[in-house]
């Protein structure tokens, strides 16, 4: 019988400890609950989706940023390639993802926004409804011609009576859009030859003299320009590209018609969208704020800036708010521009 009080005591003691522990847990739970509200991504895995195969420009940016973003967010950032339908597949998936999914995506905003404006097949997103984190870089399309080809400058192209033949992978690609919009602005006749297996192959057709010109993002044309294969004749932007100092910008060439002038403004605005970073639509405010802070923290890191510079892929950041504003203004475009884009799909 003597052991009973002891057991009882022990039991009570145990209970006290248990209650204390529970209370502590409760407190902990509260504390972590608060923290979780503020730090949704900390200590978790975050998927950083690239809508293309490994090895392209988008992939390079994502893989360079991932470790820095991870450090800033305290998260494990994992790069995932989800190629398909020229980036529409992954972008649709992001649009469908719930706000509780830890997923961000780098976007080919020039391509996806054009597709949305044109009302193209397969678009199941609204660019302005994404939770916008910011812009990573600009990627204005740049027209390249063969070094010893028939056309030596963009003025030549504008004045050309003969059909200018652009090479492209397929309708709806950025290279197709840039070519047909430029032709609409300046009124020179074009034919877009499609079916090339990739941008490189299309450019090779220009180098071999089988096509006249090829439009692609300035950073992908940089290598061939530096090795002397092609000449970059115009950048679809109002600001010159630092690494292509000799290439004029498209706003240097004034279109003849007023309609052309308006289309030019629309094109320049579209091209500044560049490479964006978005999260699924409807993210709670604090969650989006956490991502935006992480993004700003990562992109202001000198090591990252230097690392990307070394790969000739410089960053050109816009904050989330600035980028959203830009996106909305581009989406609210003129019916004329929308009609030109429609012809590219």
């Amino acid at each position: 019988m003597t052991h009973r009080p002891l057991t009882a005591l022990r039991r009570t003691g145990g209970a006290v400890v248990l209650v204390a522990a529970l209370a502590a847990c409760g407190q902990d739970a509260d504390a972590t609950g608060d923290a979780a509200a503020a730090k949704f991504y900390e200590g978790e895995n975050l998927d950083f989706v690239v809508p293309y195969d490994a090895g392209g420009g988008y992939d390079v940016y994502a893989r360079a940023m991932a470790p820095y973003l991870g450090e800033c967010l305290g998260a494990e950032v994992v790069v995932r390639n989800e190629p398909g339908a020229g980036s529409l597949l992954a972008t649709n998936t992001t649009a469908k993802a719930g706000p509780d999914e830890r997923r961000i995506q780098i976007t080919n905003s020039v391509g996806t926004t054009s597709a949305q404006i044109a009302g193209a097949d397969g678009v199941m997103f609204d660019m302005s409804e994404f939770s916008i984190i910011g812009r990573v870089a600009t990627a204005p399309d740049t027209v390249a011609v063969a070094t010893d080809g028939r056309l030596t400058s963009f003025q030549d192209m504008i004045d050309s009576e003969e059909t200018v033949r652009f090479a492209a992978t397929g309708p709806g690609s950025n290279e197709y859009i840039a070519a047909s919009v430029l032709s609409a602005i300046y009124g020179f006749p074009i034919e877009v030859v499609t079916g090339f297996g990739g941008s490189g192959e299309a450019r090779l057709a220009v180098i071999a003299g089988n096509a006249d010109a090829h439009a692609s993002t300035w950073d992908s044309v940089l290598g061939p320009v530096e090795s002397g294969e092609v000449e970059a004749v115009v950048v679809a932007s109002d600001e010159p590209v630092e690494l292509l100092p000799d290439t004029p910008v498209v706003t240097d060439f004034v279109p003849e018609s007023d309609e052309g002038k308006e289309l030019l403004d629309d094109l320049v605005a579209l091209e500044t969208l560049g490479r964006g970073l978005v999260a699924p639509p409807g993210l709670p405010e604090d969650q989006l704020a956490e991502l935006r802070e992480g993004f700003e923290c990562a992109t202001s890191n000198e090591d990252l800036i230097q690392e990307l510079d070394q790969q000739q892929r410089p960053i050109d950041v816009l904050t989330g708010d600035e980028y959203l504003e830009l996106l909305e203004s581009v989406l609210d475009t003129s019916p004329e521009f929308a009609a030109v884009l429609k012809d590219s799909f």
Partner: protein, 503 residues
């Protein structure tokens, strides 16, 4: 040229460079064995580590890794019938039947040794191409590529064996499947059933993994024995590796022809290894003394698939180095490495940076020799796996299959494609319909269509008059005429063909 070659060799042989290459080889070794997890993704993962490396060091690391994946990809193909890479499917066709008969050691010996020889051949082609690389690549355009796809399609006949009608039907089915996706001319979705996933067509990796690997695993599940179950008890020692090497040496013309096919097709952007393997395999069957053994465990089929696979790597570097045009996904990543190293692919790679180009030649050769030597050391434990009972091994293989299908583009659609392909594969095996003509048509159909339209858009009907097109048309004719003549000759001789039935 000789001096530059020696110079670059001494650069590659520096301690640090060699160490980086060995590290790359080790990583590539494992990646190659795992199906699906392919060279391109691994390269992209490793790219950031090359910051601050000298160009030759960076390529020793990356290229060493890349070329080894295609070598060790064959190991999975031969042992488990699951292609380790999309380019290793041909190795399953005869390598796996040999393993099922308990001759896995011999098949591996042959496939690895011919891989090593093939890589040396491919590297030699790359080195020899240097003076003529640019005019040759510039002379080839869409019309030539289109004609080459036609030449490739004629191999449907060779790959169907005695079942020519069945083979042609399977090829027709394959061409229909190749129509799925957005057409590149008008941008209209064809047979995509409103699934955006299908816009790019049926993806190759899950198709190959399912058609060959999935079918074999399902068979293994049903048979409930070990892979090498038919061969009886597990032998105390795994033998036959030496025999495989001797087989390879005896069949040296097969090695040579397959390597030539590999390095040529490797040079063409868009075609690459997934096509080259079957053309080399079909060619080996055509010229074999006992073509009826193909598909049942013909050692010359294994040798051809090993050699072609590694010879293509040297070839695929040609357009990348000379023009910065990647021949495939892997070389696209390699292109980023050029920029990181501060190099611009193009003319200067053949003049001022010639030593870097030649160092690539050496890296391809050395990395393969090291990998093959290392593989021989691991062969015994690996081959033992094939004597593990089916029910124990199948879950592990299913995991490999799922991983292989899913990791190619991180999409569940890929797993579905793999499962459907596996079902088709099983049906083909059960009712004896050839799978290879189907796959070849799926791959070539889409490419042929694209290049036909580009040819016409660029040149009008004049493309038919290009000398290289006419030359290839003659080849096309010969492909049909020569075997027919040979058959007639054989018939007229009327001698009973002594069928040397080797295992």
């Amino acid at each position: 040229m000789g001096e530059a070659l020696l110079d670059s060799l001494s650069q590659v042989l520096q301690l640090q460079t060699l160490g980086l290459m060995l590290l790359g080889v080790a990583i590539g070794f494992v990646v190659g064995i795992l199906p699906g997890l392919g060279g391109p993704v691994t390269l992209a993962l490793m790219l950031p580590f090359t910051f601050g490396m000298e160009p030759v060091e960076a390529f020793a690391f990356l290229l060493g890794m890349l070329v080894v994946t295609s070598t060790t990809g064959d190991i999975t193909s031969v042992l488990f019938g699951i292609p380790g890479e999309a380019t290793s499917a041909a190795a399953t066709l005869d390598g796996y039947p040999l393993t099922r008969r308990g001759q896995g050691g011999r098949a591996l010996g042959a496939v690895l040794f011919s891989s090593a020889l093939g890589s040396v051949f491919g590297a030699f082609v790359l080195a020899a191409m240097v003076p003529v690389i640019r005019p040759v690549v510039l002379a080839l355009s869409a019309p030539e590529f289109f004609m080459l796809t036609l030449v490739g399609l004629t191999f449907v006949v060779a790959l169907s064996g005695k079942k020519v009608l069945k083979g042609l039907l399977m090829a027709a089915l394959g061409l229909l499947v190749a129509l799925i996706g957005i057409d590149s001319q008008e941008g209209i979705p064809r047979y995509t059933m409103d699934e955006i996933y299908l816009w790019d067509g049926i993806p190759l990796v899950p198709l190959v993994v399912g058609l060959f690997g999935g079918a074999e695993v399902l068979q293994l599940m049903l048979s409930r024995s070990s892979i090498a179950g038919g061969a009886g008890e597990m032998p105390k020692r795994i033998t036959g590796i030496g025999e495989g090497i001797r087989d390879t040496l005896r069949h040296w013309p097969v090695v040579l022809r397959a390597s030539a096919i590999g390095s040529t097709i490797g040079m063409i952007p868009g075609l690459g290894g997934s096509v080259a393997q079957f053309i080399a395999y079909g060619q080996a069957r055509q010229s074999s003394k006992n073509p009826e053994q193909f598909g049942k465990g013909a050692i010359d089929g294994v040798i051809a698939s090993g050699a072609v696979n590694n010879a293509k790597d040297g070839g695929s570097l040609v357009p990348t180095i000379a023009f910065g045009i990647p021949g495939g996904a892997a070389t696209a990543v390699l292109l980023s490495a050029f920029l990181i190293a501060g190099l611009d692919p193009g003319p200067e790679m053949l003049t001022t940076e010639l030593d870097v180009t030649y160092s690539m030649v050496w890296i391809v050769v050395l990395a393969n020799i090291v990998a093959v030597a290392a593989a021989f050391a691991f062969l015994r434990p690996l081959t033992r796996l094939t004597f593990i009972s089916g029910p124990l091994l199948v879950p592990f293989l299913l995991l490999l299959l799922g991983l292989g299908a899913y990791s190619s583009s991180n999409s569940f659609g890929d797993v579905l494609v793999m499962l459907v392909a596996a079902a088709i594969g099983v049906a083909c095996i059960r009712w004896d319909w050839p799978r290879v003509p189907f796959l070849l048509a799926v791959v070539l159909g889409g490419i042929a269509e694209r290049y036909l339209f580009v040819s016409y858009s660029l040149f009008g009907w004049d493309w038919l008059l290009r000398p290289t097109v006419i030359g290839l048309a003659v080849v096309l004719l010969l492909v049909f005429v020569v075997p027919a003549l040979r058959r007639r000759q054989a018939r007229s001789r009327n001698a009973p063909v002594a069928e040397e039935v080797r295992s």
